[in-house]
Every structure is written in structure tokens, then in C-alpha cells.
């Protein structure tokens, strides 16, 4: 009897995976070869995948003693030439803040995946939340540049991780991938691109100048010097103190200002860091501004409210920080009411209000019970509001 043929996948490049595993796969695609981390729900799947895959590919996986050391390890690995990342959730992210600032001032590329869960403290380990938005921006002290990306599907977990590595290399800055429990744990089918289909920025191994002339920092016109890995013969000093272009500490007011202006300017003036998705904004008179899992659910909301004749569009922020001010400004100019649904008590809403400068009415929609929005609940609120049934300033589920 002939052996029964088992069914073949529709496409060999299709993978059925969770958001967290997609982050790991995206990191491997981007050439990540060092992972230092400490397991924490709901981000552990990233570490699990990296522990399994990195040694096979000649990379290094280290489980550190805590998140402070995890962050320190990826900075060290990056200075030695590795593309490094770590993954954590709220409580671990708090511990990483000090060294995150160190990575900012020393301009060391690295990627931190923060899979948000309910907080503060241990909070709700297995429930969803979006309450780390402001911590991602201002968690570490001092004026500092930061890039924060937020995926809304498993495919985007993959894509944005590759983008995170590229931006991190290009601008020599830590990039935070701000995922959440729902996106991290849900499973979908994704298509992994062939090597070369997506651009990957590689580290330069040598500068074209003699080692003695090499400057690890370049405070020129919003450019960044190539970071030559330690061990290539280019010797330089790395410190968390304010430093000059050689990397040595300085207290001179002119040099201090130059360094900080460079740090802030390189992200502020970058054109390719703002990623947004616009949905049905052309004819809209009200709009939703959202990110992450909330934005995903609100796509269903838009479908429902449009069906009821309410002209509502959506601006989805893939880049949360730096805030896409120009894009938000456009939406504030064109719409009468702007809904900002978030799984927190209104963190992004205040930033949107500041851009709005009183033009449109900003209506926050908040949910803080560890559950995801129901798209129909949000739709009902938007419909009631637009028919003048509900006039309240804040909608709480």
C-alpha cells in the first residue's frame, strides 16, 4: 500500500508564529548576533527563540542576572561589533532605564523590545496594557533622543524589528520596539521575505582614515560617525559623561551644548523615522489616532461607524516617538473631533492635545482593566458622540 501523502503548505515561506517569535525572526533577519536578557512574561518567547536559534548561527545568547545587566551586556556587545538586542516587559524595562540613557549618550546602536503588560510594578503579568508609552519616551533621565516603534500585527512585529535594527545602526541610537501582550502572544501567518528583499544596514568595520585620526563622535551637520568596533585597531574612549568628539569627558559649556544638540538633532531632523498609516482620512470629519493593538481593533471600529454613515478615519502611528507631529497636525487641522483610544489613562492623548493647540476636540477613550477594546463598544461611543447623544469629554470603558 502506498504511503498516504501528507498535505504540503500553500507557500513554503509562510510561517505560523506569534508576535514575539516574529520579533526574534525579524532580529535574525536583520543580522542580530547577540541577545542578552532576562525572561519575563509576556516577552519570554523572544528570548526562547533566540536561545534556540542564535547558537546555531554562531551568535551568542546570554541569560543575565537581571535586566540592568542585560542592558549593559547588549551595549558592550554592540561596542564590540555585534548587532544586539534584548526583550523585556514593564518591570524589566524600568530596570533598563539607567543603561538605556548610557546607550543614548554614547551613541551605541541596540534594540530593546518591550512587550507591555499591566502595571505599575508586577501588575497584571498576563494581561494587555499600553501604559509604557511615556516611560519609553522619558524613562531615562535627561534630554535624550529615542526612537519608539509600535507594531499592530505579527507580520509587522517582523517588519518593524528589521526597521528598528536599521534605524538603530543608521542613527547610532537605541530603538525601542513597543509591543504589547496581545500582539506578542497572538499567532498569525506571516511571510518571511527572502534575504535581500528587505534592506539591512550593516556596521562599518573600518573607516577610511588612519586609526590615529579616528573620531568616534561627529558633531557635524546631523551626521553620525561610523562606530568602528573595538578590536579593529581604532582606539577610543567611551563614557557616560558629557564628552567631546574624541570621546573624552568635557565640562566646557560650548562642547556640552554641541554634544546635546547633536544627540537631539540627529533624530529630530531625520526624515525616515516617521512611519504612519492613514486610513479613510480623505473625506473624514472625525478621526482616530491610535497605535499597537488598539489601532488594529479600531480598524474594525472604522468599518462599523462608516457603515452607520459616520465619516471617521484613522491615523495609525507606527512610530510613536519622536511624535509624528506633522502628520498629527494635518489630522487636527482637517477634523472636528479626534478620538484617542488607549489601554492606559491617556498618555498619548496629552501629546496629541499639545499638537492640536485647541483646534479639534480631543476625546480620549481609555480602558485600564487589562482587557482589550471591543471594537463595537468604541464604535458605539463614536456614533453616539457624532449624533450628539453623548457629549462627555472622556469615554471610559
Amino acid at each position: 500500500m502506498a504511503k498516504k501523502q501528507t498535505l504540503k503548505p500553500k507557500d513554503p515561506r509562510l510561517h505560523f508564529t506569534s508576535g514575539n517569535e516574529a520579533v526574534g525572526l525579524g532580529a535574525l533577519y536583520a543580522g542580530c548576533n547577540f541577545f542578552g536578557g532576562y525572561p519575563i512574561t509576556p516577552s519570554t518567547e523572544v528570548a526562547e527563540l533566540m536561545a534556540r536559534e542564535l547558537p546555531k548561527r554562531g551568535g551568542t545568547f546570554i541569560q543575565m542576572e537581571d535586566e540592568i545587566a542585560s542592558m549593559a551586556s547588549i551595549i558592550g556587545a554592540s561596542l564590540a561589533g555585534a548587532k544586539s538586542m534584548t526583550a523585556t516587559s514593564g518591570p524589566g524595562f524600568s530596570l533598563m532605564q539607567e543603561n538605556l540613557g548610557f546607550a543614548c549618550i554614547t551613541e551605541v546602536p541596540c534594540v530593546i523590545a518591550n512587550v507591555m503588560r499591566g502595571g505599575p510594578s508586577t501588575g497584571l503579568p498576563t494581561k494587555v496594557s499600553q501604559a509604557d508609552v511615556m516611560q519609553a519616551r522619558w524613562g531615562t533621565h535627561g534630554d535624550h533622543p529615542i526612537l519608539v516603534l509600535s507594531p499592530d500585527s505579527v507580520q509587522e512585529c517582523f517588519d518593524l524589528t528589521v526597521t528598528a535594527f536599521n534605524l538603530s545602526e543608521k542613527y547610532r541610537t537605541p530603538v525601542i520596539l513597543l509591543s504589547d501582550e496581545t500582539i506578542g502572544h497572538m499567532h498569525e501567518v506571516i511571510r518571511i521575505p527572502e534575504p535581500g528583499d528587505m534592506p539591512v544596514i550593516e556596521r562599518e568595520a573600518s573607516a577610511e582614515i588612519p586609526a590615529d585620526w579616528y573620531k568616534p563622535y561627529d558633531y557635524g551637520v546631523h551626521s553620525t560617525a561610523p562606530l568602528i568596533p573595538f578590536g579593529e585597531g581604532y582606539r577610543y574612549h567611551v563614557t557616560g559623561l558629557t564628552h567631546d568628539e574624541q570621546g573624552f569627558p568635557t565640562g566646557r559649556p560650548d562642547e556640552s551644548r554641541k554634544m546635546l544638540e547633536h544627540l537631539l538633532g540627529k533624530i529630530e531632523h531625520a526624515k525616515d523615522v516617521y512611519h504612519v498609516e492613514r486610513l479613510y482620512l480623505e473625506d473624514a470629519d472625525s478621526a482616530i489616532i491610535a497605535y499597537g493593538c488598539t489601532a488594529r481593533v479600531c480598524k474594525r471600529t472604522i468599518y462599523t461607524v462608516r457603515h452607520e454613515g459616520v465619516k471617521c478615519g484613522m491615523l495609525r502611528l507606527k512610530t510613536i516617538w519622536p511624535l509624528p507631529v506633522r502628520e498629527i497636525d494635518e489630522v487636527c487641522e482637517q477634523n472636528d473631533v479626534i478620538f484617542v483610544p488607549e489601554l492606559n489613562s491617556g498618555q498619548l492623548m496629552r501629546a496629541v492635545k499639545r499638537v492640536n493647540r485647541g483646534r479639534a476636540t480631543i476625546v480620549p477613550i481609555n480602558r485600564i482593566d487589562g482587557q482589550l477594546f471591543n471594537p463595537h463598544d468604541v464604535a458605539e461611543m463614536i456614533i453616539n458622540r457624532s449624533h450628539g447623544i453623548d457629549e462627555s469629554d472622556q469615554l471610559i470603558i
Binding site: 504540503k8 503548505p9 510561517h15 503579568p125 481593533v297 480598524k299
Partner: protein, 202 residues
């Protein structure tokens, strides 16, 4: 896949929920079903889950949406199929079932059925006594569900199980799969007979 500026809404979506207590293999059931539908049948799938901080015990559920268009409602509250492996989850989620939905329960642990239309089979006791290991009860329940509801083809489910179960457990899992298909088939035939259904393909 997303982000092309339009929202496509599916015309046909099936929602299957597996519910019970942590450690019963609910996440595995959901993932295998979604994998079979998504990778082997090319459908758009989404699997979500909800559980407590405990490793075992506590309420757990796994939900699979199978559609023909991108799924944006990540947590639909109305479901087509409920596979319930303990009493508390059966009581809790029966209300979410659509009027014409299918209820399948493990009668090893569920004693009180909320409806007369449910399918009932002692998956855990059957696997323990006939197959020698109760851990495959989730796979048997999955196969039973597929036989009754036909949300996906049996070939797809078989391929998904064969390719995603550790080598040493494949035989056991395929046995559970076969038993599930068989029992589901006969339960469905029985139900048809009772309702006076006349097979026209004589």
C-alpha cells in the same frame, strides 16, 4: 499584508473557542487548528489566548478565527464553536455561543450541560483508558470538533499535527486524531438520524 489604505471586511468568519483550565492543552489545540487552516489551507487566521499567571490550573482559553479577509477584531465575543473541557468554562462561555453554534464538551469533567443540542464525549477518560495517555485529549477533542463542524479539512489537520508534534509523540497523537474523527463522525450521523434527516445521495 495590512496598511494598503483600505479595510477589507470578511464575509465569512468562523470563531472557535477552546476553554478549560490551564494545562489541558488548549493553547496547543488552538495553534494546531490555526496552523492547519492558515498554512495548509491558505485561510486568514488569528489565534489569541487568555490565561492567568499560574502554570497549571486557573481559567484558560484559546480562540481561533478563520476568515477569508484580514481579521481586525482580535477578540470577537460571539463564537461559532465552543469546545469546553471543564464545567466552569462551559457555564462561563455558553452565553457567547451563537444560536446555531456548536457546543462540544468533555463529559469526563462537565456534568451539567446547558443545552440539549451539545455534543458530549468523555475525551479525557477515553484517551486515558483506550489510548493509554490522557494528555492527547485536547487533540482528540480537536479532531472530534473538525469532524462535526468541518471548519477545516481533515487532511490539513493531519498534516499540521504530523509536522508540529515531537517525533516520539506522533503515533499517539495520530491515534487520538483518528479516534476523534471516528467518534465525531458517528455522533454527527446519530444526530442526523434523530432529527429525521434523509440522505438524498442514495
Amino acid at each position: 499584508m495590512y496598511g494598503n489604505g483600505t479595510i477589507v471586511h470578511g464575509t465569512h468568519m468562523q470563531v472557535v473557542r477552546f476553554a478549560g483550565s490551564g494545562g489541558q492543552g488548549l493553547m496547543t489545540s488552538g495553534r494546531i487548528l490555526a496552523l492547519a487552516a492558515g498554512v495548509y489551507e491558505g485561510a486568514v487566521v488569528l489565534q489569541t489566548q487568555s490565561y492567568g499567571p499560574e502554570a497549571r490550573g486557573g481559567a484558560a482559553r484559546s480562540q481561533v478565527c478563520i476568515s477569508d479577509a484580514p481579521i481586525n477584531n482580535l477578540n470577537p465575543s460571539r463564537i461559532d464553536v465552543l469546545v469546553s473541557l471543564n464545567q466552569s468554562s462551559c457555564d462561563k462561555y455558553f452565553g457567547d455561543l451563537k444560536e446555531d453554534g456548536t457546543l462540544i464538551i468533555d463529559s469526563s469533567y462537565v456534568n451539567e450541560l446547558p443545552t440539549d443540542n451539545g455534543y458530549s464525549f468523555p475525551f479525557t477518560f477515553y484517551c486515558r483508558d483506550k489510548l493509554g495517555n490522557p494528555v492527547v485529549a485536547n487533540i482528540m477533542a480537536l479532531a472530534y470538533m473538525v469532524a462535526v463542524t468541518e471548519v477545516i479539512s481533515r487532511d490539513a489537520l493531519e498534516a499540521a499535527v504530523t509536522n508540529n508534534v515531537p517525533q516520539r509523540f506522533i503515533k499517539l497523537n495520530l491515534k487520538a486524531l483518528e479516534a476523534g474523527f471516528r467518534e465525531g463522525e458517528s455522533a454527527k450521523a446519530e444526530r442526523r438520524r434523530q432529527s429525521g434527516f434523509i440522505d438524498t445521495q442514495i
